[in-house]
Subunit: 534 residues, 2 copies
Amino acid sequence: MSLIKVPVLLFVLCFIASLFASHVEARIRHYKWEVKYEYKSPDCYKKLVIAINGRTPGPTILAEQGDTIVVELKNSLLTENVAIHWHGIRQIGTPWSDGTEGVSQCPILAGDTFTYKFVVDRPGTYLYHAHYGMQREAGLYGSIRVSVRKGVKEPFAYDEDRSIILNDWYHRSTYEQVARLSSRPFQWVGEPQSLLIQGRGSFNCSILSTPNLEAGACNMSNPECSPYVITVVPGKTYRLRISSLTSLSALNFEIEGHNMTVVEADGHNVEPFVIKNINIYSGETYSVIVKADQDPSRNYWAASNVVSRPLHPPTGLAIFNYYPNHPKKSPPTTPPTGPLWNDTGYRLAQSNAIKARQGYILPPPVTSDRVITLLNTQNEINGYRRWAVNNVSFTLPHTPYLVALKENLGHSFDQNHLQRIMMQQIMTSTSETHPWHLHGHDFWVLGYGIGKFDPINDPKKYNLVNPIMKNTVAVHPFGWTALRFVADNPGVWAFHCHIEAHFYMGMGVVFAEGVEKVGKLPSSIMGCGATKGH
Amino acid sequence: MSLIKVPVLLFVLCFIASLFASHVEARIRHYKWEVKYEYKSPDCYKKLVIAINGRTPGPTILAEQGDTIVVELKNSLLTENVAIHWHGIRQIGTPWSDGTEGVSQCPILAGDTFTYKFVVDRPGTYLYHAHYGMQREAGLYGSIRVSVRKGVKEPFAYDEDRSIILNDWYHRSTYEQVARLSSRPFQWVGEPQSLLIQGRGSFNCSILSTPNLEAGACNMSNPECSPYVITVVPGKTYRLRISSLTSLSALNFEIEGHNMTVVEADGHNVEPFVIKNINIYSGETYSVIVKADQDPSRNYWAASNVVSRPLHPPTGLAIFNYYPNHPKKSPPTTPPTGPLWNDTGYRLAQSNAIKARQGYILPPPVTSDRVITLLNTQNEINGYRRWAVNNVSFTLPHTPYLVALKENLGHSFDQNHLQRIMMQQIMTSTSETHPWHLHGHDFWVLGYGIGKFDPINDPKKYNLVNPIMKNTVAVHPFGWTALRFVADNPGVWAFHCHIEAHFYMGMGVVFAEGVEKVGKLPSSIMGCGATKGH
């Protein structure tokens, strides 16, 4: 495993002060969730999912900037533990609420109730999902939508606000996938069976033969898998919050015949630009503005297609429904099939187009104190196939890093892999796109490139003027991505490829950041490994 | 849930003293086990099983009376916890090692290593298996064979000693079964797909159609599912230890053309009797003596067949191989199909035939201090189908009873269901056979009957002369069974139907027995529910 120690360089106290000031008007939003295995048919094929209060995706968290979110999570998985990560929420002052098993907490024991409590300190589009084993793939995920404070004006206008999560979907259980990925010789889990839009997809049941299936196990007329419908009123303008939580797939999303204006990425305002379709990688969120300005006598396809991999499931479809047409009326057209899967240049150009919006630029430090180069590799370790960073394959320790480091339980993980401080990093990909996600922080995206990174000349081309800040970024095939972040949030933070199997197979590191400045850890995050009995 | 408090009536200290005396010569047998999900094909159909050191059934524990068994159990299930029960081992002085999640311990957390340590104080045939959720069905089970002390002579002779476990086998995961059993409306999990003998069965793959299956997912020539072979030398005598750990099925086992002499039941010597086939219920163990006295030029079928249920999987088959015939040579005959499934009288007669052996009779107390009548019922509770005892459906508490009672964590379970002391019980079954298993004790089997129990006349017919002692006993369809036991083992002990789904659905009670006399609890059994942080 890789652990990188980062002293807190710029711990901006005045920011914390302003955060507390904002609490005066902020509300506490209380949720009671029960997590349980249930049979669902998201893509018409019945399988066990991990549902929250009977649903996958789970309930959407709606809040206003500065609100405190309290989620009382009851684990009813019977024999299995759980943990939920609040993706994009920086957890300033509450690193123990990050929900990352092995990093910020022990798993929530089967039968236990655990309370997450944190402040959503910025407006924007965020996510939540399981962060334990490969449970995210079992359907344990949902949206967090944080609106600006009352009276604050956003730099773009819309009539309605909608959220959709894109996903891919496997029919095998996560247990089966884990058993394959960790087998020797390696067994690939294959491409997903379908693509979901807001938890709904359409698997072609006819390719399965019936004698093997019980009645109803795959049923294309099951209402659970009827396409998701986005109903719009002609002439109105919509903010569509699009995010991806795919296990594997890089996606391209398009609303047939409609332009989209990108205005937000991972909670940051984007200098608007117009596109026909948007490339989106697992862990990313975008807001786009869409006007219902096309022929209102028909419906349109909203479509997601896999890019960056040659084989993939059929197009994921939703219906962009012009009121008062029937919401289930199929559009008269062939669904969009997306750009060429291997047109890396096209996707790189879109990555480069995403800049911070004028008036909302948070300028990055012009230099970095430390540079760390992280190289993604696939390695064979003791006959097991693993992903690695600088040839070190990450495994989650049994004692969460946060507790181990804060409480000096030194022997609970391997100290040999301590690495140096960083404020910038370069990652080289092999043949596919790896979306890297940082916990506890946003980073500036200084630049992308294809080919070997040139440490002399490439940094000269960094965008230090208006780089976007994000929490998840793509490393394009055979390419590199340069990031910078300020280590100003005491805690222990995972930084990893957001492809579920890749993180499980070791593609990640952990930043230990000014752990001595972390407040008193709640005992609720303990109870495993060396913290048993704490 | 039902909790029955039992003060210790006869805590025989001299017995404990003799136990320690025996330690002088006893050995410590140390096992290191890793529990992990792996793909296996026990009946030719590939599915995930929970294996111990890569095997299901797990390694056999071989020990001598008085030995101490130490099992260091590493839980590598990734996100799932585990617990293992040592079935038939009374755990005198070590109630915390009973391995019953929710009763004697918290589950062993994913990633944790837990050490079970206990004395096997009596010779005989015992079992181990998961006792958490429905993990036993996933293949986590094995044999314990305890031989008599060196120099001690058994009252029967044999040349070789062999163990086989009978089982039934489902293709669906335990997660799927649990989801069905706990769904509203109730979804029955159906009959098992096959019967296993020592972990091997033969599912007819041809009834599955291939388009739905990946290559090799069902393969009748997979060596993992070739029939188990019991090789014998003509003229020699064999002790065959037969046990059952079926999820659902009551079985009848037969070795074609060979008589069996029953000599042991659940660790107690039986007054020998000869049978053509043996009825065996989940949780029971028997030793039979078989002589290889038939035509040695051929092999014979060893067959298990379902009784007591009308629908069932095909006969489970092993090969009783006469050396030097080829062990895979199929017998020339049609396999035995067992007795009529609904011939309750036949099975009742066999139950009645099992008596303690002359010279080894431990006489029961002639009267009981308390009588408790337990009536098995199936109830509909809030729309969920549940099994119940006296209309109370058992649910395992999140804080183990042993810890809750010993440490006075009173609020961790419902005190309203405290019941009265017992030394005898009568259970009436509905339409199928329920095998009831008692932890921490053997009981005398005083009598069986069909129809409503008559509390005046039936006790007059009790066998108080030479009743067998057992830890698992059948309650026959529409029948009753009378037991008696001495509350002489401080601890908290489950008493439940050994059908995996029935216990999960509430068919059990717990005896709290002189808990104040239990020694200091090890902290390793804590960490869940109200014991979090202990």
